[in-house]
Symmetry: C2
Subunit: 201 residues, 2 copies
Amino acid sequence: MKPAEIAAILYDLGAIKFGDFTLSSGKHSPYYVDMRSVLGSPAPFRQVIGSLLDLAEEKIGLDSFDSIASVPTGGLVFASALAYESVKPLAYVRSSAKDHGTQRAVEGAASTGQRVLVVDDVATTGASVVHAVDALQKAGARVADALVVIDRLEGAAESLEKLGVRLCSVATIAELGTELHKQEKIDDATISAIRARTGTA
Amino acid sequence: MKPAEIAAILYDLGAIKFGDFTLSSGKHSPYYVDMRSVLGSPAPFRQVIGSLLDLAEEKIGLDSFDSIASVPTGGLVFASALAYESVKPLAYVRSSAKDHGTQRAVEGAASTGQRVLVVDDVATTGASVVHAVDALQKAGARVADALVVIDRLEGAAESLEKLGVRLCSVATIAELGTELHKQEKIDDATISAIRARTGTA
């Protein structure tokens, strides 16, 4: 699916919103991303999964990873459907030590030497994806690529690069903003705010 | 898929084991069920999803529910693939109040008046499924059916019946035991122990 289409779909669903949002950190952001609204709409959900699969084929190569892993809850919903569609084994990494107690940090297909593709819905600073990569590497798996639907361009790619992992996204928030600006769904001030925040031209 | 096939698949994967298991309650059980091992094997995972879909078609009717809901983490992985395959909206219920804080108890497609099918991997006493039904009903959704892969026959059907919800399973632990006994994968003493525990003839 082209960036113009995915931008329109996510905007129409309310999965991406533009305005003045106060984050939990107290900081303000000119955009808001919530991929949970995609789950409630089967056709867009399938289109997003299709885009992830296309990207995995074109940019990563379906033969270059043995299994797909994610972190509960949001990302795992997308990873599960992607694993189903691509006929790849699935694993998941528990979100934190307190959530697993005596349970394993990694469940499913991520044994020693396996090449694992990490999938998540949204990358912000990358904390969630970095946690997954770290747990998978400790379990002996090899991670070369991470795949997300939206990259908010807030440091995830840089944090992953330090772990030797490349981040691929269906679209960055800057690309989505540019498409929606072209489609006259957001105004000049909004696209300027997005570009200022993400450091994109 | 026939009970004989699903039994063989789950047994070969180690998703069901027979012996003497000590549960977290301290009680002993002659069987152990862990559907997470299915995630790591794409063909069996697809077969299980296919069985859930067949059951939803035959016993419940695909037109009799508007969306599919589950509870993280185990059940949601199956629900996500089932929603993807059946092109139904997906919702999930957070496992407990402490896990959601200021977040909503129900995320996704479960608004007032929607008819929701609750899906989980395993039903034991039914606590997890009952929690989901309760949260969905509080959100205004209608729940008539719950669908699980394995019913351990430990009270889930009775608890759900009190809420007006019918429980369907791909197989009960007693059915799986009977099939595996026929296939000579478990001995006479084991099938007797399963029947004694589940109160089945």
